[in-house]
């Protein structure tokens, strides 16, 4: 009986490894695929990545300073399909959407006249094929500014 229960310990080890491996996967994805798209803007030094599944959403609250220029890059791993994002002000008014008809962009460049707080909402496209219901992958949000 004890021996049978001990059999589960390697499984625990595998699961722990998987969590760390997923974090490492996200970092690698962000570094190789997303960071180059931020250039020539200087990144803000923060890694904003998370594992998401189809249909899930994430919010990012950000402040932008008057007179500055910024770039936001939002990308997801290929297994997730596409990711949509929108930017809203503090009152909820939508100021930008990355999807316009069939056109979808993963970067957004903007300047700010007055210091403002904006919320970025990221949403992974819903699953179309039910066999993909357990799909998960990294979503990365990078913010850069121009000096």
């Amino acid at each position: 009986m004890i021996l049978k229960r001990l059999m589960f310990l390697p499984l625990l080890g595998i699961l722990l490894f998987n969590v760390t491996a997923m974090n490492a996967q996200c970092k690698s994805f962000a570094k190789k695929s997303c960071l180059p798209k931020l250039a020539p803007y200087i990144n803000n030094g923060q890694l904003n990545t998370t594992i998401m599944t189809p249909g899930q959403s994430a919010d990012m609250v950000m402040n932008f300073n008057s007179g500055q220029s910024y770039r936001i890059v939002v990308m997801c791993e290929g297994v997730l399909g596409t990711v949509e994002f929108q930017i809203a002000d503090a009152s909820g008014k939508i100021l930008f959407k990355n999807k316009n008809g069939d056109d979808i962009t993963d970067t957004w460049d903007f300047t700010v006249e007055q210091t403002t707080q904006l919320t970025l909402t990221v949403k992974v496209s819903d699953v179309v094929d039910k066999t993909q219901m357990n799909t998960e992958g990294c979503v990365s949000v990078l913010v850069g500014f121009k000096k």
């Binding site: 589960f8 997923m22 960071l35 200087i42 998401m52 500055q68 100021l95 903007f110 006249e113 500014f145």
Partner: protein, 303 residues
């Protein structure tokens, strides 16, 4: 108790769910704490964010803060920076983390103001603290070599520093140390505020006063970030101090204008109009400066 195959699969699934949740700094609506005197923006953000599975709080980088102050007319004064000699004090993980943030901000300032010899000295301290925290790759020999090779190119130096910060943050997130990351960010932000208030007190400058007032919004985000990690004792202590500081910022009146957005069809660059304007008095700057100094002193004296 014998467990059949179905039971084993269910157990495996449950374990997967539990472990996947560990180290993930998701802020579910049940975990959110309503702190007193939340700004309208933060309250709205929290209400909307409760529908999202994850909320991130982005802070301005110390490089951007230094750049904003320089554009506002600030001049360099090395007396505002944390003494390099203080580095011998930092022997615990929280002390090292907070002061990695502090020295990182100092490094940003020396670089923005082209004090290149001091930049290398501060980079060395940043590297020592990063190594002690186990983040040796971010600010190590490779970064030092690149900075020396680009010592006359400010833009390259700033990119190198930003990349190092990013690598450090990525390492900490990857290794499920978000509390350490939060302490680094908080230490850096407090140092930036401290330097800004020193500059403001040394010479009347409405633009710098305005930049300080704008930190009201960043402080809300920082408190949001710290609240997610408040189970950590050192984060919790810093959080209490930041909430007290926020009480001073709350006295600054802020008017939110109607937002507009216009995108240039050729450049694809959007201009966001509207936003917030701030009305801050000299006394309010003085009050914030006093609290910033007290909190900064606490941080740089923390072993």
């Amino acid at each position: 108790m014998r467990m059949n195959l179905t039971g084993k699969v269910i157990l495996l699934g449950a374990l997967t769910f539990i472990l996947a949740s560990c180290g993930n700094n998701e802020s579910s609506s049940e975990e959110k704490e309503t702190t007193p005197a939340d700004s309208a923006a933060v309250k709205k953000g929290k209400k909307d964010a409760s529908n999202a599975q994850k909320v991130f709080y982005a802070l301005p980088s110390p490089i951007e803060t230094a750049d904003l102050l320089k554009k506002a007319g600030a001049t360099y004064n090395k007396d505002y920076l944390n003494s390099l000699d203080n580095s011998t004090k930092y022997n615990t993980s929280p002390g090292r983390a907070m002061n990695l943030g502090v020295y990182g901000t100092d490094l940003s300032f020396t670089t923005i103001f082209d004090a290149s010899s001091e930049s290398l000295l501060y980079l060395k301290k940043v590297n020592n603290l990063a190594s002690a925290l186990g983040i040796s790759d971010a600010f190590g020999e490779g970064t030092m070599d690149r900075m020396q090779a680009n010592s006359n190119n400010r833009d390259s130096l700033l990119s190198i520093i930003s990349d190092a910060y990013w690598t450090a943050d990525a390492y900490l997130q990857e290794n499920q140390r978000p509390a350490t990351s939060a302490l680094i960010v908080a230490g850096g932000w407090v140092e930036g505020l401290y330097i800004a208030t020193r500059i403001a007190l040394s010479k009347e400058n409405p633009e710098i006063n305005n930049r300080i007032a704008e930190q009201k919004l960043s402080l809300d985000n920082l408190i949001g970030l710290m609240t997610e990690q408040k189970k950590d004792q050192d984060v919790s202590t810093m959080l209490s101090d930041l909430i007290d500081l926020r009480d001073s910022f709350a006295k600054i009146t802020m008017s939110a204008g109607k937002s507009t957005s216009t995108t240039d069809p050729k450049t694809k660059v959007t201009t966001i109009g509207g936003g917030s304007t701030f009305n801050v008095s000299k006394d309010q700057i003085g009050e914030i400066a006093k609290k910033a100094e007290a909190l900064r002193t606490k941080i740089i004296n923390k072993s």
